[in-house]
Symmetry: C2
């Protein structure tokens, strides 16, 4: 990791910059796949699945029998661990159920807001080297808690056409209604437009590679909503002389093992901890199965030494990390000053792994600085909030004149008359 | 208005379809303007302002003195009306302030969620035939209530380079920090990337024409968040034999006067009201200043007769209108069955004009069927929700094994070790 000492504030933007993600070069391929999925439906899905996943399949929906079997084939220990995580995720997301709001803004003018679950949601769970069953829990449990009436899931098939049993088991206990062994752009297209077997949904959730991300962005321009723009995973760790270099190193490696493009930053007020963390990294790296990924990620990662805690927090808020681990004795004090981050891990006993899997918080979080404006996935993401208003005769008399004046000032005469006709009618009653 | 009687359900999608909005043809011009704004800043803004607005300006920020003056030049009646609306909007949005959430998911595993205001927001208020000062209130008041620390506003200059005093006055009382007389793609570019005088923001709100909408969509692919995709305004009105045809017609015209592309639908269970509404429309149209817009809009608008209330509600939920006016005696019963709509107006005394201006609900709402997945602008839109977790030694012992099992099952060894190192350390303490 490169060490930068006391950088001038004018250099922060360069130091904290992420690699540029220019996905518009993928638009053409996304649009082509979308067009074929819209026009040919399942037939197009079958061809792309054979081309990209090497799987010949005519039926993409995982049969109920296979899902049932997954629970039996999964080892007991993993099943219990998944159940524990599911319990915690459900508990934390249930606490987020929004309350209806009702306010009489003026006498007789009643305004209400009601959260109504999005009826149809589609979840995307990437394939790749490992089965990301934890993402199934993170995306599906809140959907069930919110009360979405149709929850579907797409994930690319393994070479034999199936999905990993841990994914199937997680989907089953989370309340997913239909599971499809479809991946990539074609999965996003299928959920956005619908095919003979895949129902169209109103919102698509989930991470993915750059093709999936570009596909979600393009789908979001017209057909459906998406959770957030996705990018490479990130962590910022805050340390001082009270921090344990071994634990700090383990957290940095947790992030860097995700992939070569993972973003890892250590911000510290302690000079002396830097060499100790570097040593611990060397030692822990040696035994890491995904060492090749970690090494590439650490190659562009940074240790930044700052002069005081104020600067540390200012830098964190400027960077807006997806994950923020505060591994200092004063972690509580620092945590309350965080303005921009996806999820915050307070104190030495709270590694990112906890939130990645099982503490109860969601691990689908804004990357690439989006934490400045986006929330991670939370229960809100599965609702839309509808407003209602009900005005009594008295209320209309109270509020009507202001509306008429404003409508005329905006040259919208019919808006004014909709009030005037009603007030006249009330006068004549 | 075209009347359709008892349509078969298979024909609903065609009947309820909106005109296709294909904005990607505008991408090239947006990208060109964005590139110049990024590279040349204010110089590019000046050139585009001269080209598109016919205004030569070197300073786009409206001076404090001009804003102060606006309050004096505005007539007393309009000022009071704006104050009334602002009061109600503030009251309803204050009721939406989210509470912090704190849950111990397992003994020693504390999960929290905190809403933190987005620091920098940019509001876009379109120009055009009338000054949309009501949109200023709708976008800026929630930003101030949420506690956004920098609120800026862009709106295209009038021919003399100024902004309408009603816009300036509304911005002032809503707590806008800086006002810029900049419109169109260049305004979105300025707020997304920043220039010498316009600060870059983290989220852009507000309606606009197709150029502004395309610009927001492209900006949202990388730099900033946006409120929602915008489209032509819409209303669905529900009527039965208890409804007043004159009031129904006034509501239909309120929507259709917005512009030729406004979407207006009347769904009724009463055959007899149809001709009465048509008559009232004819009568009211004659005296309408914006008759030319209303006629074009009504030309593609529909009256749909259905057999019962169940079908009526099913059709509304399939259409997902931006505005829904329920002008029947059983409006309350029908309102609780609405699943997809932006804002709902309950009963004869609650016209859309009320919510457009002053009841307190927001008028920035999802169009084009997006109400299936998007909320209208509400206080949530000005926050991001950050999660926090804090695990005690006891908590880590409780939750650690499940995390280790799951991490290994996802082939993420460093994630497992981040737990193992900590549990070992606790054992040795």
């Amino acid at each position: 990791m490169n060490t930068i000492r006391y950088p001038a504030k004018k250099d922060w933007p360069d130091i904290l910059a992420r690699p540029a993600m220019e996905l518009s070069s993928l638009d053409k391929v996304v649009q082509e796949v979308f067009k074929r999925v819209r026009e040919e439906g399942d037939q197009a899905i079958a061809e792309y699945t054979e081309k990209f996943d090497g799987v010949k399949a005519s039926n993409f929906q995982v049969p109920e029998s296979e899902i049932e079997k997954a629970a039996d084939t999964l080892n007991e220990k993993l099943r219990k661990a998944i159940n524990t995580a599911a319990f915690n995720i459900e508990k934390f997301h249930k606490a987020q159920i929004p309350k209806d709001i009702q306010v009489e803004t003026m006498p007789g003018v009643l305004c209400m807001q009601k959260a109504v679950p999005i009826e149809k949601v589609g979840l995307y769970v990437p394939g790749g080297t490992a089965p990301l069953f934890s993402t199934v829990l993170m995306l599906a449990i809140p959907a069930r808690v919110a009360g979405c009436s149709e929850i579907i899931l797409c994930s690319p098939p393994l070479k034999d056409g199936t999905l990993n049993p841990a994914i199937l088991y997680s989907a089953k206990i989370s309340g997913v209604d239909k599971i499809f062994a479809i991946g990539g752009i074609q999965a996003i297209g299928a959920m956005a437009y619908g095919t003979q077997t895949v129902p169209a949904v109103y919102k698509i959730f989930g991470p993915g590679n750059q093709y999936v991300t570009a596909a979600k962005q393009i789908a979001a321009r017209s057909e459906v909503a998406i959770d957030m723009p996705a990018g490479p995973s990130e962590v910022a760790v805050l340390a001082d002389e009270t921090s344990d270099p071994v634990l700090i190193a383990s957290d940095l490696l947790s992030q860097s093992e995700h992939g070569p493009d993972s973003q890892v930053i250590l911000i510290t007020v302690s000079e002396s901890i830097i060499s100790k963390v570097q040593e611990a990294l060397q030692y822990q790296l040696e035994k890491l199965p995904r060492k090749h990924f970690a090494l590439q990620s650490l190659g562009h990662s940074k240790i930044i030494l700052v002069s005081d805690y104020d600067t540390m927090i200012e830098m964190v808020n400027a960077y807006a990390p997806e994950h923020l681990i505060i591994s200092t004795n004063n972690a509580d004090e620092l945590a309350v000053r965080v303005r921009n981050a996806g999820s915050v891990f307070i104190g030495e006993n709270t590694p990112e792994s906890a939130g990645d899997y099982a503490s109860g918080t969601n691990h689908t979080l804004p990357t690439n600085g989006h934490a400045r404006a986006y929330s991670g996935v939370n229960l809100d993401a599965y609702y839309k909030k509808i407003t209602f208003q009900k005005i009594s005769a008295e209320g209309l008399k109270n509020i009507g004149p202001a509306i008429e004046t404003m409508a005329l000032a905006e040259d919208l005469t019919a808006h004014q008359r909709a009030i005037a006709f009603r007030i006249n009618k009330l006068k004549n009653q």
